[in-house]
């Protein structure tokens, strides 16, 4: 940074003072704790969900992790840092879900609807849905988790997005029968554990994710110079 820029910042912001937000923070913390105790007395699972939800919100906020940016920036500014972060998170969750599902199918028969981690059919409807969600996510400036996190941060605009989100979800639920009948019903459910050994599935998925990671680094180095 040049001295001129430092002086400019100093000149513009030297005398300003920000409001103290700590009292609000303390009030919110007390409210959250009271609610947590209330949930605990009613049903301990609610309290755990409450704590985890707040925890995820805090992590999202401070890491500035944005799924919309992770999938958008590789195309827009040739930056794959967040995308690679997402791939790493997927690697971690691959291992975690593999352990959970492995324990589950040792004791239970393979029934798609009951396996933890939502095993659903694959087909053209996934591609269409993902594309629509991607377009909506970039226009709205955030995915569903990002929208919720930004509402917590105080963005009034995201309330509108949330309203749209509700409308879309309700419409989707209303018309789900139509889509199910015409597209989803004929799609096949492929659950790799049925066909391959447990270790091969996990290793295979990790290898694919790692390959994408390497590809992302290559892509970034290849196109960054042109900017």
């Amino acid at each position: 940074m040049s001295n001129e820029m430092a002086r400019l910042i100093e000149k513009r912001n030297g005398a300003k003072k920000k409001k103290n937000q700590i009292p609000f923070g303390i009030i919110l913390l007390i409210l959250a704790l009271t609610l947590c105790i209330g949930f605990w007395q009613k049903e301990y699972k609610l309290a755990i969900c409450w704590i985890l939800g707040i925890g995820i919100g805090i992590v999202l906020r401070y890491s500035r992790f944005c799924f919309a940016a992770a999938l958008r920036d590789p195309f827009l500014v040739k930056d794959t840092r967040l995308f690679r972060g997402m791939l790493l998170a997927m690697m971690v969750s691959t291992i975690g879900f593999a352990v959970i599902q492995y324990v589950y199918i040792q004791k239970n028969p393979i029934e798609y609807d009951f396996i933890p981690g939502a095993v659903t059919s694959v087909g053209i409807h996934v591609v269409i849905g993902a594309f629509l969600f991607g377009v909506g996510m970039v226009i709205a400036g955030g995915c569903s988790s990002g929208v919720l996190m930004r509402i917590g941060e105080g963005h009034a605009l995201q309330w509108m997005v949330l309203l749209g989100f509700f409308i879309g979800t309700i419409l989707g639920a209303k018309h789900y029968g139509f889509w199910y009948e015409h597209i989803i019903e004929h799609a096949k459910t492929i659950y790799f554990f049925e066909y391959f050994d447990f270790k091969i599935v996990v290793l295979g998925q990790l290898l694919v994710l790692f390959g994408l990671y390497v590809l992302a680094i290559w892509y970034e180095n290849r196109y960054r110079k042109d900017m």
Partner: protein
């Protein structure tokens, strides 16, 4: 040194970055552009881009929930 300001209040990611990129193209070397924003991710988003492209950059939180991003054109 000329100073330019872009008003990106109420604009979401990635619009501020795109506007900044466009503005930088028309500026002379040594000029500074200031992007005003109230979207929390904009600072991180632009800073990352600027650092990668070797522009001096500074993010200042001027008020709670309002940021100014300074970028100097050096090349």
């Amino acid at each position: 040194m000329a100073v330019r300001e872009i008003d990106c209040l109420y604009e979401l990611c990635p619009v501020p970055l795109l506007k900044a990129m466009k503005e930088l193209k028309t500026m002379e070397v040594g000029d500074v552009v200031i992007i005003r924003s109230d979207h929390s991710c904009v600072g991180a988003n632009i800073k990352e881009w600027a650092v990668k492209n070797q522009y001096p950059v500074e993010v200042v939180e001027v008020e709670d929930g309002e940021w100014e991003v300074y970028i100097e054109k050096t090349k």
